[in-house]
Each structure stands twice: as structure tokens, then as C-alpha cells.
Symmetry: C2
Subunit: 346 residues, 2 copies
């Protein structure tokens, strides 16, 4: 065995997406096969069985034709890829051995041959749910960590606002802020999510932005003395309202702008003059620039997870075939907590 070919179901992007993505932009291809052994002349590659796949907001930009250097678009007609958790089936790379559990960039398919191993991490702590390595212990966890600690330079007692706060990144930023001794408020798009923020993740307050006619007034209600740190996940109108409510020398970490990803024309942000009068620093960041901090990150979060001080909510869709619906649902806010697709239970 191993020499024989096995079936390898794949999720294919049919063509570049315009506007809002639909399930029908993808197809489940059942006719592919793969050998469960690397070719003899393979170098620095791994062959993996995929266990969990991660649905992340940045993937929408990859469904579009490139208009910027980052991130690289998907290839229509081919399986899409993204972060996932996998078991190594065969390896010609000295850092990975058959049987290892890894997380990093893999294909949306049952088995993947990975030749670019630069974004693969070996999982050392397998006592926690493996799906956590698509979120809390993976890319979104590192995003929250880098954006909050490295970009925002938070101080005890500061006020923190997080948008899209119940998502994979936001729920962690809020908990990091509480660990730091900050006052933290989150916004989300449903009552369930708001409840989760307050009752599960320990945010000091939270509100449903869809029920606020005047975002500026809502922010003034929760931050009568203004906002020191804004963890920006949504862009558009929310950013405009936040700018009016920032405090002197506030910091805005721009992680994403999910409210804008579906729009052909981005909403204009009109209150940027606040950057001057309030001496605000607004900084975009992407997580790959910070992966050298991953060991330091684990050192911080693992003890807190084990003793229950950091909690985490996932929304797990079962089976590769449920992938397109799960991924598309992210952009209408259908998921509650981190959206994962379980491909295989070992």
C-alpha cells in the first residue's frame, strides 16, 4: 500500500468571484486521485492527510483577481488552499516525519502534497483539541497576539474596542485585553454573539452594531472618555465612528476590513483628520511578519488555556463537502465563533 492511488476529493474555485461569494462559486471534485507516497526524487516536501481546514476572512480577497501584492489569488480550476491541521503521511523534509501533526497552509482536499513548507508548524502540544490549531493556537491566535501586543502596545487600564469581536481573532483580543487589565468592549452582528462576548469571553460590554442607528452615539455610550486602542476588523462606517471617539495618542491596529470585502466600491472614511488632532497611530499588519514570535505566544497562552482563563468557541462544519457553505457563511456572519471544517477524524 502507499504505491496505490486513492480517491482525493477537492474543493475547486470555478472562477474569480465578483461581489458576494456563493456556494455555487465552488465545486466538489470527486474524480481526483493521489498516491500516498512522495515521488523518489522529492525534496523538502510533505504529503499530508488533512484533518481540519480553517475559514478565514482574508480568503475572500484570494477569490478575486489580484489588484495588490497580498494575498496571492486562488487559481480557478484548482483546489483552493488555506490554513489547516494535517497528519504527515510521507516526508522528504528533515523537519517533518511520517506521523507528525502539523498546522499551516494546505489544500482544501483530503490529501495534499505540500512543496512550499515555509508556513508549516509542527504541533508539539497535542493534548488540546487539534482544531484549535486553526484558531486559538494557529494563525488567528497569532494575529490577535501580534496585533494587540506588538502593534497596539497596550497598557493596564486603557480602554479597548474590538469590532467583529466574536470571530476567531476578536474573541482572543478581548481576552488578552482583560488579562492585561484593560476595559474592553466588542461589537458583533447578533444577540447570540453579543451574549457570547459578555458571558463567555468576559468583555466588559458588547453591542449589536446592526441595532445601532448611530455608531458614534453607541461608542460614546460605552466609552464616555474615549478609546485608547481600536482593534480594527471591519472598516467603513465603524472606523469613521471610532475615529471620532479615539483618545489622544490612541492606536488603531488594522487587522482587516471585512465590511468592505464584498463591496465593489469601498465606503469612504471621512474622519481621518482625527489622526492629526488626536495624534493617532493607525497601522496595518499581517501575521506572517510575526511568526518568529510563535514560541513566545505559546508560552503565554498554553497555561491560560489549560487553567481555563482563555476560552474559545468554534463552529465546526462536518465534512469537506460542507466547506463552501461554511466559507461563504463567514461573509454573512452566519458562524458563531471560529469557523472550521472537519475533513477527517483520524
Amino acid at each position: 500500500m502507499g504505491e496505490e492511488e486513492v480517491s482525493n476529493k477537492q474543493i475547486i474555485l470555478k472562477d474569480y468571484v465578483h461581489g458576494f461569494p456563493k456556494e455555487s462559486d465552488f465545486l466538489l471534485k470527486t474524480s481526483s486521485t493521489i498516491k500516498l507516497k512522495l515521488p523518489y526524487d522529492s525534496h523538502d516536501a510533505v504529503l499530508v492527510k488533512n484533518l481540519y481546514l480553517s475559514c478565514d476572512p482574508y480568503m475572500l480577497n484570494r477569490m478575486r483577481e489580484a489588484d495588490a501584492s497580498y494575498p496571492t489569488p486562488f487559481t480557478p480550476g484548482s483546489p483552493i488552499n488555506g490554513y489547516g491541521v494535517s497528519r504527515v503521511v510521507d516526508s522528504s523534509h528533515t523537519s517533518f516525519s511520517k506521523g507528525d501533526l502539523i498546522w499551516g497552509i494546505t489544500g482544501w482536499e483530503e490529501y495534499s502534497l505540500i512543496t512550499d513548507t515555509s508556513l508549516l508548524f509542527k504541533i508539539q502540544d497535542a493534548d488540546l483539541p487539534l482544531s484549535y490549531y486553526t484558531g486559538l493556537l494557529g494563525m488567528p491566535g497569532m494575529t490577535a497576539y501580534a496585533g494587540f501586543y506588538e502593534v497596539c502596545s497596550p497598557k493596564k487600564g486603557e480602554t479597548v474596542f474590538v469590532s467583529a469581536a466574536s470571530g476567531a481573532v476578536g474573541q482572543l483580543v478581548g481576552q488578552f485585553a482583560k488579562l492585561m487589565g484593560c476595559y474592553v468592549v466588542g461589537s458583533a452582528g447578533s444577540k447570540d454573539k453579543v451574549d457570547l462576548l459578555i458571558n463567555k469571553f468576559g468583555f466588559d460590554a458588547a453591542f449589536n452594531y446592526k441595532e445601532e442607528e448611530d455608531l458614534n452615539a453607541a461608542l460614546k455610550r460605552y466609552f464616555p472618555d474615549g478609546i485608547d486602542i481600536y482593534f480594527e476588523n471591519v472598516g467603513g462606517k465603524m472606523l469613521d465612528a471610532v475615529l471620532l471617539n479615539m483618545r489622544l495618542r490612541g492606536r488603531i491596529a488594522v487587522c482587516g476590513m471585512i465590511s468592505q470585502y464584498n463591496l465593489e466600491e469601498h465606503e469612504g472614511v471621512s474622519n481621518l483628520f482625527c489622526l492629526v488632532i488626536k495624534r493617532i497611530r493607525m497601522e496595518g499588519f499581517v501575521v506572517p511578519d510575526y511568526y518568529h514570535l510563535y514560541p513566545k505566544f505559546l508560552e503565554l497562552v498554553l497555561p491560560h488555556i489549560r487553567d481555563g482563563k482563555l476560552t474559545y468557541v468554534e463552529d465546526i462544519a462536518q465534512g469537506l463537502e460542507s466547506g463552501p457553505a461554511a466559507l461563504v457563511g463567514l461573509f454573512s456572519g452566519r458562524n458563531v465563533g471560529k469557523q472550521v471544517v472537519a475533513v477527517a477524524h483520524e
Copy 2:
């Protein structure tokens, strides 16, 4: 003498300004008088004769009713104030003596009694034209210095774009960039100004933004490999075009947004997502936060001015009565170089 009262002409703001300011928003009051001696019970105050007054873009925001903490609005019915160069006539402050030359915040009038001395600096080097202390050697000079060196962290060989580049701040930023070994391009609003940038201030290139239908295309022409540093003076459409042309890890120092000051509704900026994909830091700053660096600044610029490596162009209006027209002209770009009002030649 000194005990008697002398005439003290003043420039008064009639009422808060809406939209574009006009000369008629101000009046020259000729009926005021002032004693040329401080009261006996005066503490920590100076009485000065004003020599030069500075016209600066931020002053438009002071003509409006406050909608933010900075800057403090003018008081309708009273003389306006701003940066200027003055001779001390009388002093009850230990740091200033009769006869000293100073620069800092003073009134738009012939003589001023200054009780808030926190923004007064003694002029030590009076061999250079005194009007320079309203620009090159004063607040605009420190603004260029702080914004370029402190906020932008420039490196040799980087590409720099400056908008409103022939103004008091812009002309210096361009020259600092050249001293640093950067490639620098400026935009301005007339052929004369563009000529000045290239022939007088040594910019590598310059363009008239009013003659460019497509600012994005213009920037691509001058920066085929993108912009590392943008010194932002204008906001609006220019900022949107710049965002598309920034390089990875670029920096934007937000000094002002003069294109927006006259608009009741600010233009929306739509390309902020570039902050994320290009990891851009965009930071607002105001110069009072950096005045502790003034001695270090003088150490840098004085030798360069004396040996002609830093040049400077002023547009001097004669007489206090020419003040309103000079100030208002700033917002239609009428001035070429730093706009100053000469109140008295000693």
C-alpha cells in the same frame, strides 16, 4: 514714557467662519490702546512688540467652532493669535528680559501682553533674517523635522512624496529628504511652485496636481517602484491615490489635510485596506509634542542654512492691515513659499 498708552491696531475675527474664509471675516480695529509697561503685580508675563506674524494652515480650524480638542478656536470679537516673532518690551518672567527677541504664540496686533509663555522661545541666533523664526527656524521647521525624522524614520535611498510641497513645511521636508539621500517628489498647485521645487529646493521631480486628471497614474509615473514615505499635508483624493502607490512597510506622517479644511463634508478615503496588505503605518502628529527637540533641530539646520545647503522662500505681506488677505490667501494657494506678515521693522 512706558506709562502712557499707545495705539495698538488689532486684527479681529468677527464671527466663526463656515466654509471658505474671506477677508471680510476679519476687521482691523484701530481704536485699542496699550500701556508699554506691565502692571506692577504682573507675574511670569511678557509685553512684546510684534515684528512678524505667521500664516499657517492649522489656523483655519481655529476660525471654526470647536468640534475637537485641538486646536483651540479663536474668540470672535477678539484679536486672533498665532506664531510670530517679537521684541520684549517689558517682562516679569525670569526667562525673558527687555530687549530679547522671541518667537512663539503672540497676538495679531502691534503689541501683545502674553501671559501664557509656555510656547515662547528665545532667539539666540539673530544673524539670520528674523522672519525665518516664523518658518524655517520656527514652528513649520520643527514640524518638518519632527514629521520627517521622528514619525517617518527615513532611511537613505528611500522614496519620499510630499504634498503641498512648496509650503513652509513641505519645502523643508523635501530638503531634509535630499540631505538624507532619499529620492523626493513634490506636488503643488501651480507651474511657479513646481519650478521652485525643482530649481530652488532640489526635489528630484515635481508635478502640478491640478493638471493631472488621474493622480494614481501621476504617482505611478514618478514612483514606478512605489512610495516609502508620504508626508501628508492635503488629504482627500491625493491620499487615496497615494495609498495605492505605497510600498510594503511604508510610512505616512499626517501633518495636515488642507484640501479638507474648507469642506463642510470631508471627502471619503476609500483605499485604507492598503494599510493592511502593505503593512503601512499612518500616524498623525502635532508639533508641540516635539518642542523638546528644538535645540537638536537647530544644531542640524543652522550650519546647513549658513553654508547654503538649506534654502527657504518666503512670501512677505507688508503691514498688519495686509494680514487678513495674506491669511485667507493661504487656503486658495495664492502664496508662493511661506506666508508671513511683517508688522514692524524695528
